[in-house]
């Protein structure tokens, strides 16, 4: 690894301010974190000195010195394809572990948990919305929404505590998302429009009130009007449920609606020599 390799660049842009990249020893990694002292206790998610590569030979795709996500915070995570967005998302979800550094969610270090325990932890505390084809085609709308409660006792209990039953909580969320029309509920999940499907996925991410909602390109399949409307609904429901939201997208047009924007830098997978620096400090 030489000077030509910049690794993953992580930029935090807080309230529109550009901060200078932090360069770790050697130029191969740079990480950028909010300059303010970050809350290590009480943070929904905290990453420290995280380096991740898909295997030992490959160059790291991501290096993050420090990243904290506060409760109820709305974070926009932007970066081009291959910038490590997916990797960061998988790290936050505990699907993968970093080679170095630590990832903890709600004060629990994923490194201290086994794979099954991380799966359980994710089921209990994290909700997801993906780009499209978010729904299980053979389940009804309500069955799709209550899926997390099938795998997480905690979310099942929370859903029941909120609405009396899991299905009632699903209907409550769907109603908030304007999806409770019986005619819509009766249709197979795959017959719904893209916007409707994303709203069902949002209801599923929120059922049982997880502390963190991760949305991965959740609005990419929607047109501009629907995108704004969907984000409004998502924010409203996350606020109502008290969940922090990490919104990942390659498209920065929605960034203004968030508390904070984090920009991931250069593409990370081409061979080291041919690597292009895409990221650093180009925005505003």
């Amino acid at each position: 690894m030489g000077e030509g390799w910049d690794g993953g660049h992580l930029h935090a842009i807080r309230e529109g301010m550009v901060t200078t990249p932090y360069h770790a020893q050697g130029s191969r990694t740079c990480a950028l974190t909010p300059p303010t002292p970050s809350p290590t206790t009480g943070a929904v998610a905290a990453l420290r000195d995280v380096t991740f590569a898909w295997n030992r030979q490959a160059p790291p795709v991501l290096h993050i010195r420090q990243l904290d996500i506060a409760p109820r915070e709305r974070v926009f995570l932007r970066g081009p394809s291959g910038s490590g967005k997916t990797t960061l998302l998988n790290l936050l979800a505990g699907v993968v572990l970093p080679q170095r550094g630590s990832v903890s969610v709600l004060g629990t270090d994923f490194g201290s948990l086994g794979g099954a325990a991380r799966d359980r932890f994710r089921a209990d505390h994290v909700g997801f919305v993906f780009q499209l084809f978010n729904l299980i085609p053979y389940l009804t709308v309500v069955e799709n929404v209550v899926l997390p409660c099938l795998f997480s006792k905690r979310r099942r209990e929370r859903a029941i505590a909120t609405s009396g039953s899991v299905d009632a909580d699903a209907l409550r969320l769907l109603q908030h998302l304007d999806m409770a029309d019986p005619a819509v509920l009766a249709r197979p999940a795959t017959d719904l429009s893209a916007g409707q499907q994303q709203r069902v996925a949002a209801a599923r991410a929120l059922v049982g009130a997880p502390e963190l909602v991760i949305a991965d390109e959740a609005t990419s399949a929607l047109d501009a009007d629907r995108r704004a409307a969907f984000l409004d609904l998502l924010f409203r429901e996350c606020a109502a449920a008290g969940a922090a939201i990490v919104f990942v997208s390659h498209d920065a047009s929605a960034a203004h609606a968030f508390d904070r924007t984090i920009e991931l830098g250069s593409s990370s997978l081409p061979p080291a020599g041919a690597r292009q620096h895409l990221g650093a400090a180009r925005r505003r």
């Binding site: 699907v95 799966d119 099938l150 979310r155």
Partner: protein, 416 residues
């Protein structure tokens, strides 16, 4: 909960699932059908005759003699003289004899020339004797007793008159219509070839044959044979013999084999039945092997279907992982689908077997003289089903394991 998901997933992919189930069902139907035919034919054959210690006929293969005289399968090649039968019945060890003369038919049903001794001494099943649904045994020479099937299929009643045809085929052009017989008895159902028999006195057969001879025989050899048979007062196909003491059977069998009057064969029905099973055993084992292969093919079809769908379903698995399913859950979903498909296949196969049995038993009885009982699955059949189920689950482990590994690598995002 995972099984619930598996069920909904299969319901979603109805067509593939139905085809897979159908192929497993066919395989199971074949496997159980072969097994059922094997056991049923054995019990049915074994129940056809009981209490008869020896069957005596002209020198021939014991199996042939048994099949023709008791099961009415095939025709006896040679006959024995009636005075031989008389000599036999006079032996001190012999308690009773039933003479049997075959070779004629009535509208496709076998005619059995015999005497009143048949209804007195013949036993079937676990030593049951023949019962009359209506009427009485043979007493006069122009009478006939019908098996239950004959009476019901041809809608004969007591007092109906019937005409015999020469030859054992279904259709005969030589009708003995100058000597009609009167139905005096109808037997209760036995579930054996007796149900399909027309019982007439020996004298009635002699009379119609004598009439046929008068009309002239175009084949000089046949005419000569008839003359030879006729010289000793008619012929018989076989004699069923009951002994005073069963332990004497082997000695009597040997001495009959050495009878000076004419070449004879005496068989012990149970022993000869074992010979029959030895012959059919080869076929049965072949059929069992073939049907096992069909089961393997059916399960392989399921494997192909599951493996093909597994790559299409990576996104589905990723979604499940994102809502908290562990890789083991996802693998369990695939395994659950394999299990459901196999179980549904077995259930459909068993159902098809019973429907098939109910539909085909009449035809099988008519065609092969095999009376199939519609009984609950035997322990052996249950074991076969369990074996198929276990094999299905085991095969399901392959796509499940693959899905497990893919799911572990993919996490919540599908990387292609």
């Amino acid at each position: 909960m995972i099984i619930g998901l598996a069920w909904k997933s299969l319901r979603h992919r109805r067509l593939t699932a139905a085809l897979t189930v159908a192929s497993i069902a066919l395989a199971v139907l074949l496997l159980l059908g072969v097994e059922r035919m094997r056991t049923e034919s054995r019990t049915s054959f074994a129940a056809t005759i009981s209490g008869t210690d020896l069957i005596v006929g002209a020198r021939s293969s014991p199996v042939h003699l048994l099949l023709s005289s008791v099961f009415h399968i095939g025709n006896a090649t040679n006959n024995i003289r009636r005075d031989t039968a008389r000599a036999l019945s006079e032996r001190p060890e012999v308690a009773w004899t039933i003479p049997i003369a075959l070779g004629d038919t009535h509208r496709g049903y076998r005619v059995i020339g015999t005497t009143g001794a048949y209804f007195e001494h013949f036993r079937f099943g676990a030593g049951r004797s023949l019962a009359f649904e209506a009427g009485k045994p043979l007493t006069a020479d122009d009478e006939a007793v019908l098996g239950a099937d004959v009476a019901h299929r041809l809608q004969y009643r007591l007092g109906s008159s019937i005409v015999l045809a020469h030859g054992a085929g279904e259709v005969s052009f030589v009708l003995h219509d100058d000597r009609p017989l009167r139905v005096v008895g109808i037997l209760a159902r036995t579930g054996t070839p007796v149900d399909r028999g027309v019982f007439v006195p020996l004298a009635a057969l002699d009379a119609v044959h004598a009439a046929a001879n008068v009309q002239g025989e175009s084949d000089p050899l046949a005419a000569a044979l008839k003359q030879r048979d006729g010289s000793s007062g008619g012929s018989l196909t076989a004699v069923l013999v009951g002994l005073k003491s069963r332990s004497a059977a082997l000695g009597v069998q040997r001495s009959i084999g050495e009878y000076a009057g004419e070449p004879l064969t005496a068989i012990l029905p149970a022993v000869t039945l074992l010979e029959v099973w030895e012959i059919t055993g080869v076929v049965e084992r072949t059929l069992l092997a073939v049907s096992s292969m069909v089961v393997v093919a059916g399960l392989a079809g399921m494997l192909v279907a599951l493996l093909t769908s597994s790559s299409e379903r990576r996104r589905e698995m990723a979604i499940l992982r994102s809502v908290g399913a562990r890789p083991a859950h996802v693998a369990g979903l695939i395994l659950g689908e394999a299990t459901l498909l196999t179980l549904a296949g077995i259930a459909s196969g068993v159902l098809a077997l019973y429907v098939g049995l109910l539909l085909a038993r009449g035809w099988i009885a008519a065609r092969f003289g095999l009376f199939l009982a519609v009984a609950w699955p035997s322990a052996h059949e249950l074991a076969l089903m369990a074996l198929v189920a276990a094999a299905g689950c085991l095969i399901g482990l392959i796509p499940a394991w693959r899905t497990y590994r893919v799911s572990l690598a993919d996490g919540m995002t599908v990387r292609i």
